[in-house]
Symmetry: C2
Subunit: 344 residues, 2 copies
């Protein structure tokens, strides 16, 4: 079978080759009616023009960018998997773009919109505390996923999918309190992280306050460098410092599972036992927490449902011109070997 | 300042608007000389045509696809990070495409080439045992990364970056033998995986044979379903079965770190100790092996160097028309708490 050429298409449509080319390239000098007719013939014939193939392709495939801060956080892996499935399923191109921990995700997004033909953006992870004016600069639909907004930003200008970080965090600390712990340390991100980390600290304080337990600021351990805070490495480092500080505590709550694993390593390395000496609680619901020894308690975020909802909201914004919306998911408290009852 | 229009460009070049459009869209009905001249004027004026902006964009951004089998394998995370940096740095679009464990990566690649404007492909992970004829169907430069080819395929038709799986695997088993172990189990992928898993089993057998140790086929534990073999879940499952089988052994070598972690969980759950009852060895060099309790011995692959070399080879193929090449990296044996000396 001889390959179909642009000439064959032109002949079948009864137009010149340049008209077909115009149709393909979305040129303004062609009526919408003619363009539609030509594109149909092209489609019927499965025609992919040689030299203009790249342009035709570009018209067909539009891009959704997923901007991810902390790409090496395993928490995002199953989310990326679902998002990629959903985006591919809808015939969009899935563009994964890493944002460095010290980069401003809005800057990166604006640059990407300029460079690429983005139909929508999903922001995953990071500290999201931009003000309204800056958020408004993003002129394509976007969803903040697993990110809560802290500041008072008009809810109509963005969409979001997350857990209720304050309440879920409170749940984690409540659990430790229920097991008799009163001196509970928290391993947090940078003090200037007013989104996820800030909210989880609020939940931590709320749990203690409700029980009239004193808040010891020295047990709130912030990350003090610019590095990615949510890692095993950082959890290990913060825990080492805490152990060396001499502060008294019987339980530690890390605001990510990766940090909880690093913290556990630091505890075990100093010849202390989990949970006999220190109870450990994480946050996220990574599989590795089940496999760790001892298995680590956590708040499990329903990541796959959250990823599906993120894509649902985004495509509603893009394809149905829907209004921005916000969806809060509930986390699940998972109690494992890492928590012990404190006998007072 | 008034925005520059396509008409201004046409005027400056002394051609008609449609000629400029043709130049932008790489239309065949225009001489290369004219096209070059027009593109230069466009460049000088920083002109981004309105309606044809999308096409111009497409000309500027070309795509490298990274096809990954086992996207949830943490082993690939740092590789993806480096590849994405390298590809973005060279101003190409980074397209991450997940391949299901039961999908044929070549089919997926051919489909992608058809659909998108790919300049090159990187294959990450999976069982790669396609024959020469099928590999030749891929008409863009590609590199198999962390994948060894098992069958006799002409080395001139593909590029590859990997460790020497046979030798590195032998190194892992040699280490266990040096600690006095003779009855060593291996947790492997499917029997039909003749690439990574097949090669690592060969290294395992080679180590035993050189020491005149008998090979007990019952200690070679294959994955028997279609699922992703290299996971914690699968390591856990295979180890449970092995423990229940009643076969005698004193050490277990899992062909991936994730499997080694799953296996460790199964051992600890059955109230056995590591390394007192069973020594454990993994393969890959994941960070989590350091953080696990006990820390797990492994063969560390230099993933970041391997990722950089992969991108180097690919861009040499694309931009300098280089010949296909093959690069073997050496792994590093890391001995940790999970290995104990066997007193006979």
């Amino acid at each position: 079978m001889k390959a179909i050429t642009i000439k064959d298409i032109a002949k079948e449509c009864g137009v010149g080759v340049s008209t077909v080319s115009r149709a393909i390239n979305n040129h303004p000098d062609i009526s919408e009616q003619t363009r539609k007719r030509i594109m149909e013939v092209i489609k019927q014939n499965n025609f992919v023009p040689n030299t203009t193939a790249r342009n035709l392709k570009c018209i067909q495939t539009e891009t959704i960018a997923v901007l991810i801060k902390g790409i090496d956080n395993p928490f995002f892996q199953s989310m990326i998997k679902v998002l990629e499935e959903e985006i591919q399923h809808r015939k969009y191109t899935f563009l994964l773009h890493r944002v460095d921990s010290n980069q401003d995700e809005l800057e990166v997004a604006l640059q990407l919109i300029k460079e690429r033909k983005l139909k929508g953006i999903i922001f995953l992870g990071g500290c999201f505390s931009h003000d309204e004016k800056r958020l408004k600069q993003i002129r394509v639909p976007f969803v903040l996923s697993t990110i809560s907004m802290f500041k008072n930003v008009d809810k109509n200008i963005y969409s979001s999918v997350s857990v209720d970080d304050i309440n879920e965090s409170k749940k984690a600390v409540d659990c430790l309190c229920d097991y008799g712990h009163e001196k509970i340390a928290i391993l947090a991100a940078q003090p200037w992280d007013t989104s996820i980390s800030g909210l989880r600290i609020r939940g931590y304080k709320k749990a203690l306050e409700e029980r009239n337990l004193p808040i010891n600021e020295k047990l709130i351990r912030y990350t003090l460098d610019e590095e990615n805070a949510f890692t095993m490495e950082n959890g290990y480092k913060l825990m080492k410092e805490l152990l060396q500080s001499g502060e008294e505590f019987t339980a530690v709550y890390a605001i990510s599972d990766s940090m909880a694993i690093g913290a556990s390593k630091a505890i075990l390395e100093s010849s202390k036992k989990i949970p006999e000496d220190y109870s450990v609680m994480g946050f996220d619901g990574l599989d590795i927490c089940y496999y760790y020894n001892p298995s680590i308690s956590t708040i499990r975020q329903p990541v796959e449902d959250m990823a599906r909802e993120t894509s649902e909201i985004l495509f509603n914004l893009i394809e149905n011109n829907a209004k921005n919306s916000h969806r809060l998911f509930e986390g699940e408290l998972v109690v494992r070997q890492s928590i012990g009852r404190l006998n007072k």
